[in-house]
Structures are given as structure tokens and as C-alpha cells.
Amino acid sequence: MARGGQGAELDRKKLLADPIMVTTIVVLIAFLTLFILYPLAILLVDSLYGSGSFSFNTFRRVLAMPTFTRAITNTLKVGFVVGILSTAVGLLFAYVEVYVRMRKFVGGLFKVVSMLPVVSPPFVLSLSMIMLFGRAGLITRFLLKIYDNNVYGYWGIVIVQTLTFFPVCYMMLKGLLKNIDPSLEEAARDMGAGRMKVFTSVTLPLLLPGLGNAFLVTFIESIADFANPMIIGGSYDTLATTIYLQITGAYDKEGAAAMAVVLLCITLAMFAVQKYWLEAKTAATLTGKASRGRMLIEDRSVTVPLTVLCAIAACFVIMMYICVPIGALFPTWGYKFTPLTFKWFGQVFTKYHGLKAFRDSFVLSLIASPITALLSMIISYLVVKRKFKAKGFIEAVSMLAMAVPGTVLGVGFIRGYSSGLFHTGILSGIYGTGLILIIVFVVRSLPTGTRSGISALRQIDKSIEESAYDMGADSFKVFMTVTLPLIKDSFLSGLVTAFVRSITAISAIILLVTPSYLLITVQINEFAEKGAYSIACAFATILIIITYGAVLLMNLIMKFFGTSRKLKEEVD
């Protein structure tokens, strides 16, 4: 018996008969290797061969730095607590949405809360945290008359990150809860279990792997987060900020590379557990679809407290976000609140080159997003619908990008391209240009787009593409006339997601940007660090308006040109 003999040879021949497909695969592999694999590999190479010969010296050196070891414990401590808190709050929101009858108004609040973190730049909550609860905070100082409240440090990061990441858990857990077949819980009720018992003996055990999954996803996000610890961390450094300071402050690129390797190893390990163990378990316990609608809980002793609790939490989160645009309107935050003024917005453009910053960010993101969207759709197509040898590689590397913290990627690009490929000068021309920023934008958004593309494509019957192929279309034609039109929605949302992610990105970009490009996020970060909160708020507000506008535009386009509704009817 010889599997992989003639059959594999024929498959190869068939593939080679399709030049566009072969070219696409080759280009894709080159892109992934050059811009994801290589920057990570060079970190390892540099930190092991930095002195010309193989040694662990660099690792030994950084591990001996108290700042670095402290940063590791800090990061893990924050990640762990944030993971637990976010999962808990996310579960509460998800449970209330799926199980409890609530007023439309509360439902609306939930939607806003899940939307906000998507469209806002990453450090908005840190800003508002400082502005509301800091030493000159609106609430602490002026409402509660506390004059020495310190928001900087551990608790500041934990609170801000929890508020930033719990909506992710909420969305994940909501999907899982909806998949629980109500008859399971009804059976338990029927056998005499009370509501609490049903929750602890049926719902929770079914959800357990999903909770673990949510926890790890948040854990990874928290560890990788750069912007919040940067602004609200104070002297409490995490790995991401330590690496950044090691480069920008200490100019120790080898050390930073070694630190980045450590950070990468931590996130990769978590990612592996999450991806290969928990995700499979989640799928195993919650496979089926709910057979029919769930009887919502109407018992007021349950609905009232839960709804009120969630509504308060939601309002608090929304208030935190609103604080930023309002903050931009006060003459001097913390001292002079009237009359409201647009002077900060004016200064953005007159004094601080706002126009150039917005143009640079906007143009670069605008170029990056269609590339990202198209690339991720192509990758999804190849992964889901085709079989060829390098498929495993393509899938693995694009998933890998999901687990790479932006800071690590940033250091990798510095090490990998500032003096060319393997320090030979080849391709060093792209360093410091807009091109490398665009590439980083693409790499950073690729995993999200690919994931959404893959799940969209999995829902499309394989034989639809096969039929087109069978009628004589080649792969390119099949992709353009069948696949892409069928996942138009996923493509469009990928486009906008990529745009929003790019224009709000900071962690990798801040390491790579040169003075010839002014990026909004970098500007905001700079002003926030300097304590110029009003101007930072003005920048952030305009940014939120742009991203929110992009999302609205997408929804509008989808409404008119989307395919999903039509296709869904068919599936039903």
C-alpha cells in the first residue's frame, strides 16, 4: 500500500497545471516567511549568536537584570488577575443576555459596550482612568475630595485591562451559551433541580472549557498589551514596556531581542494550550445547535439584580469612554471646566501637525486594509478548500501571528531589517519607510481576518466550488466568481477591521516609526505620557470618530450589497 505515491504525484501535477495558484502560494509563503517567521527567528538568532558565537550570555545578562525579572512577575500577575476578572464579568454579561429577559434599553447598552473596545484606540481607558480617578481626577478629587489617589501601577492596569478585554470574553461566551441546548437544562429542572443547581451542575460544567478558553485569550491579550501599561503603569513595568524601554531608553537591542524571545515563549505556550487543547474541548462539549428557543428567566428576584448590576457596569464603561471626548472640551482638565472650548481640537491641527498625523495614519491604514482583507481571504480559501503540501505551513504561520505580541514583532522588525536580511543589507531599504509600517499593519491584522474568513468559508458547501471547478473554471476564476462573492460580508468586515486595527495600532508601530511619519496613536501616547491629557483626548476623539465612521460605513455597505441575508435564508 502506498498512500502518497502516485496519488500525491498526480495531485502535484494538477497543482502545477495551475500557474496562478502556484504563484499565489509561492508569494504567500515568501510573505509569511519574510515578515512573520523571519523577524521572530532573527530574535532567537541574535540573542544566541549576538557575540558571533553560540552562547546564552545575552539571556543570562537580561535574566540577571532585576528590572526584567520583576517585569516577568508583574506581567504574569496582571495577566492572571485580568484573565479571571474579564472572564467573570464577561460571563455575567453573556449569561444575562442569553438567559434573562431584559429591557431593550439594557440590550442596547450591551451592544454599545461590546462595540466600544473595537472602535477605540487601545489606551483610551487608561486616559479616562487617570482623568476620572487620578490625582486631579474628576471623581476622586472633585466629587470625593480625595487628593492623593494613585491610579498608576498594578491596580490601574488591572482595572483598565479588565474593562478593555471583558467584552471579548462576553462575545465568546455569549456564542457558547447560545449553543447550549435548552432541553438539557429543562431536563435538570424537570428532575427537580433549582435554578442555581442547574447553573452549577449543567450550564457551568458545559461551559468550563469555554471559560478556560476565554481566560487564556484575555491572559494573552493582557500580556501583549503595550499601550495601557505604558500610560497607567507608572513605575510598574510589564514585559512589553520593559522591552520598549530597553530599546528606546537603554539602546540595548540584543537585550531587547532576548527579552522579546522570553515574552514570545510565554504567549506561544499559552496560545498552544488554548488552541489545541481548550478549543477542541469546547467544540466537543458544545457541538450541537440549540434545538429551539430558550425560555427566558422572568423571575424578578433574578432579573432585577442581574440586570441592574450589568447596567451599572455597562454605564460605567460607557462613561469611561465618553470621558475622553468631553475631556477634550474642558479648558484645563482638573482645574477649569467652563466654558467648554474647542481650542484643543484647534491646537491639534494648528500646533501639533494634526493634519499630517491623521493623513499619515489614514493613508497607511487605507493601503494596508485591502491588502490584509484580500490576503486573509486567500489564505482562508487555501486552508479550507484546497489541499497541497505547504498548506500546513501557511495555516500554522498565519495562526502564529495571532500569538505574537506587537512589541515582539516590532523588535523583530528592527533586528531583522534595520541592517537588512540577516544583517547583509539586503532589503534594508524598506526600514524606516512607510512600506514597513504597512507591512506591520498587514501582519498585525492578518490573523483576525483569516480567522473570520475561515469560519465563513467552512459554512459554504465544498461542492459549490467544486461544481464551478468541474464546469471548467480554474482556481483563480473559482476564487473570483464563486468564493469571494460568497464571503463578501466576511471580506468587507475584514476590510474595516483591518483598517480600524491599523489606525489604532501602537505596540509594534511605536518601535518602527520614524520622524518622517507622524502617526496618531504615537502622538496620543506621547501627549499622554507628558501629561497633556486634553490634547491627547482631542487626538483620541478624532480617531474614534474616524474609526466609528468606518464601521458605520461598512454596516451601510453590507446592508445594500451584503450577501449574508440571502444565503442564510437558503440555509434555513
Binding site: 494538477k14 497545471a17 468541474d470 480554474d474 460568497l486 440571502k566
Partner: protein, 360 residues
Amino acid sequence: MAKEKKGVRLEHISKIYQDPKTHKDFYAVKDTSLEIEPGSFVTLLGPSGCGKTTTLRMIAGFESPDEGEIYLGGEAINALTPNKRDTAMVFQSYALLPHYNIFDNVAYGLKIRKLPKEEIQRKVIDILKLVGLEGMEGRMTNQLSGGQQQRVALARALVLEPGVLLFDEPLSNLDAKLRVTMRTEIRRIQQESGITAVYVTHDQSEAMALSDRIIIMEKGVVSQMGTPQEIYYHPNNEFVADFIGDANFLKGKMLRHEQGTGVVEISGTQVRVAGAENVPDGAEATVVLRPESTVLGDSGYFPVKVIVSSFMGAYQLYHVMLGSTKLIIHEYNPKDKKIYPMGSSAFVNFAPGDAHCMKG
């Protein structure tokens, strides 16, 4: 209508898969050779997992054979991609392109072949007429019933005038009544167009109704090939006999051959049977009895006990025990016949020509 009817020849085709659980390789199709005549309607019939769909997909080009060569109209096509093969397939799920209307679905392949616009227009209208969907060109696929979608799928394949038309269980998603109507339609259209057709199904009545020849597959291997009559009346083995129609099996021993028939001893009784050529004297033999050619009487070959006796309308259904062997009997047109109630004793009878003998 077809440009050129093409035959299909499979020479020692094998396909090996890996079991996802045990990671062991196994033959999905093993050393299969078969010849499909141009213009004929051939069915690959078998239970799920027998390799019939894999065989069809190898002909279409979606799977590559690990051993052997496939010929289409005399040309070796192993290395050709599906889009370069002169085959067209009707899928189980219809696989209509949901973002196109009927016209564009049917015209898809013609547009790829870059035919002039007027010709495409004419061909699509003609073919829609043939499948009974005139005037529905503008409908979207989700506005169609299952049967109509099936017709579009058929039209879309037919319009390309392929050398061979492939069907992958095309009727399995339809309800029972429609299935019968559609299979008559498919047979009519195939005969009108004279196209070569290879049809995969697990439904034996569909296979009988449609085919010139039936190929029965079991565990990746061809069990028997032949016309529906040959397969029904002269099954090669118990699997085929049982898969096509109902069958009773009586174990015995071949005593001798006499004038083209054989004499088999079953439970001490000697019975005369047909099809004895393959079984040598003295060998173990299995006699196949179809329920409708078996009758109950007050005297006969074997005494039996009636354990089920139900009136089914067209026939009286009996389950009877011959020793420890259960036999099924259909007495057609039972109105004027003697009915044996449950628990009664009777004898089993059959004509020698209705009993078919196999090895084993």
C-alpha cells in the same frame, strides 16, 4: 446532443486513505477495473463507505488515484485537473451558485468556454426547456424547490455536452415521491441526449430503474457487474443478493448436476436449483430464494412454523422458521389464497428456476 459520447475505462484503480482515528492506511477503492460503454447508463451501487463516491470523484478529477489509470474516450486523464476533463457532475447538494440566478448558473460553464453571447443564450434556453424550467431563467436559486434545484443542476451539467455525465447521489435530498418522478426524468433525458452517464447511489430501486448496467461495490471492491436482471436473478454472493432486493438464504451441499440444474441437499431434503454451474459436486452451497418466488402450501419441500403473518395490501407477508433459519415470504395477490395465521404450520415451496445457487 453530446458532441461525442465517450466511454470510461478504469484500469486497476486504487485509492488509499488514512483513517483519521487509527492513522492506519486503508483502501477506499482497491484494484478496480471497469469499462463503461459510450452512451450507456451505469450505476455504482453500494452501502456508504463502499468506495462508489470516491470512484466517481476520481473520474471527475477531484481525487487522484494512488494506483492505476483512468481513461476517458481512450485518453488517459489521470493528470488532468477537473476543469480540463470532459466530464460534468451533478452534486448531491446540487451545489448551485447561490449568488447567481438560474440563467447564470446554467451559463457559467459556457461563459468559461467563451462561447458567443447569442449561442449561450440559445443553449441555456434550450436546455431549460429540456429539463422543464422554461421561463424561470431569472429566478434565484433560493426561490426554487428541491426538485427544481435538481433540474438546474442537471441542466447546468448537460448544457456543457460533456463526454460523460456524473451523478453523485443526486436524488437523496428529495422526498420519496419526487425521487421517483425525477429518476424517470433523468432516464428520459439521458436517453434523449444519448449521453454516457455514471450514477452513484445507495438506493437499489433507483439503480434498477435507471441503469443499463449496475456495478455493485463493497468495501472498495467491485462485487458484481451486470444488467439489473442479471444481478437480481443471478447474484454472485450473499452480499449482492441481500443488497438488491430481499433474499432468503438456505445453506446446503451440492450433491450432483443434472441437465443444467443442480441437486442440493438442504436439511435432509433434496431440492433442484438453477445457477449451479459455479458450484462443484460435494461443495458447500447457498441457495437464494426471493420472497416473492417462495410460496407456502400444505405440502412441499420443508416444513416451517409461521411466526409473522401480516396483510400488506399487495401481498401477504410471512416470516417463517425453518429450523433456526428465518425466511421471508411475499404471497402476492393474497385475496383468493389460503392465509396461514401466526403460529400455524405449513410447507415452503418454490420452482427450481426461482432458486439460485451460489458457492459457500
